[in-house]
């Protein structure tokens, strides 16, 4: 079963990240590298990407003749996806354990466990044999 682990943040979180100390950034990067390696070594890794910051994010709708209308105004309270990991595991508990590990990524001031991780199941193309 595949699960997506999403890290979300408000615009202010992204701005705060830009002011982290060198030491905190290094601790975070080191942690993320080790986390990624562990996912690969344990044979559960499917995909992972980090996303560009929300400053440049645009909402796009189709206008006349399908031309894009872009909109870039966001309320401060909105949460943005910062990055995601997709893992292939045997059950939800395994996905939660990986998410809890990810949540221990050191943040500003090297405080651990403050980052919530949203876990959602990825729909499969399967149907159920029902036995």
């Amino acid at each position: 079963m595949k699960y997506i682990l999403m890290m979300n943040g408000k615009k202010s979180d992204f701005e705060g990240y830009a002011r982290w100390s060198k030491e905190d950034l290094l601790a975070n990067v080191t942690f993320m590298r080790a986390f990624s390696k562990e996912l690969k070594d344990s044979g559960v890794f499917v995909a992972s990407e980090g996303l560009g910051w929300p400053n440049e994010a645009r909402l796009v709708r189709a206008g006349a003749k399908g031309k894009p209308i872009t909109d870039g105004i966001f309320p401060e309270s909105k949460e943005f996806l910062a990055g995601y990991w997709i893992v292939d595991v045997e059950n939800a508990e395994q996905a939660f354990a990986i998410a809890a590990n990810l949540s221990q990524a050191p943040g500003a001031g090297s405080i651990k466990g403050c980052m919530p991780v949203e876990v959602r199941q990825v729909l499969s193309g399967h149907s159920d044999l029902g036995l």
Binding site: K40, F45, D88, E90, G130
Partner: protein, 428 residues
Amino acid sequence: MDGQTSDTPIELLLRELTPQVLGVVARRFRDFPSAEDAVQEALLAAFRQWPKEGIPESPRGWLIKVASRRMTDIVRSEMARREREAAIAEEEPVVEPVEEVEAEMDPEDTLILLFMCCHPALSTSSAIALTLRAVGGLTTAEIANAFLVPEATMAQRISRAKQCIRVSGVPFRAPTQQERGERLPAVLHVLYLIFSEGYASSIGSQLQRVDLAREAIRLTRSARVLLQEDTEVAGLLALMLLTDARKAARTGRDGELIPLDKQDRSLWDRIEISEGTTLLTVALSKGAVGFYQLQAAIAAVHDEAAQAQDTDWPQILALYELLQRVQPSPLVTLNHAIAVAMVQGPARGLERLKALDHDERLRGYYRLDAVRAHFFEMIGDFDKAIQHYRAAAARTTSLPELNYLITQAARLSEFRKEQSERPANTKW
């Protein structure tokens, strides 16, 4: 979607030969994990060379020779490494000439490998991956592709599975009669999971993917040859054939799911149905009826109905009652309730479902709501049916099921709307 796959005769030959070659090499070098790597390399070499140079006179001998050469390299470099590390002197590895390979063949090799790859110490996903590679002869890339994960991830899963076998010290020998009895259920479960992965995911996007259902049938066939006396192996093979027979009818032109009662039965594969039925009849006549035989028997009753309304539901009900005694589970109770509804009416079916309301094992499982929705629809309580179709849609983890369930809810809502908009004087 015409069931055609791109497998070449060379690929099919290599898959057949894999367990035979691996058996010889693993026994000769007494090292299954490394032998498995060496054989995989020999297979890849054959993939590259045979299409150009032709299939060698003895393809099996060729593969054993190449794999053994590779094994010798592995053993030598391992010895060199140990010497560098100044470890304790090891005894010389056995590197015998590779002639007379036929004499080393043991017909039980496939069975030994199957029991090893489905060892209960392995996680299910590892057992599936290793079985497909070591017994099925598929490449890591093919297996990764079938499960939609990166090749590196699948390689890692296989290597961890072999590490687990190495650590647990499982010897490379035929399982004893007692071990067979104890571990056969795990082997059959792995084969069943491979089948269901292939059958259940054969909805759209099947292009360029190995047909896992067909591979599972092939592996179960070879297991059956070696375990003639076991009726559950025959039962599982029959279940696979009787289910696979409906493959062409179960999805529509746009890949949408078509439930059993709406399928075009002329598309069902008569040859598979007849083979499955024959296998099952023989197995059932031998006594000791098990889980797979009963599931196969239920599939056979569905398959022999020319039209959905001809289905012998009283017989299916009797089979589910037997199944509840042989191997009770909440899923069996759920399916039993469907048979009850078909024989005694939906109200009785709904009563049966109440027993499952507080069952932790079904918590969050969409099918309880889906079945309830069907029963309410049969009764004519469309509001409740819509509500349960939607609840099921919110719980399913499958995209085709999700589409099916919301389509059912939409169909009933539109019907309700038409009913309420119809002018009063046209009502009867």
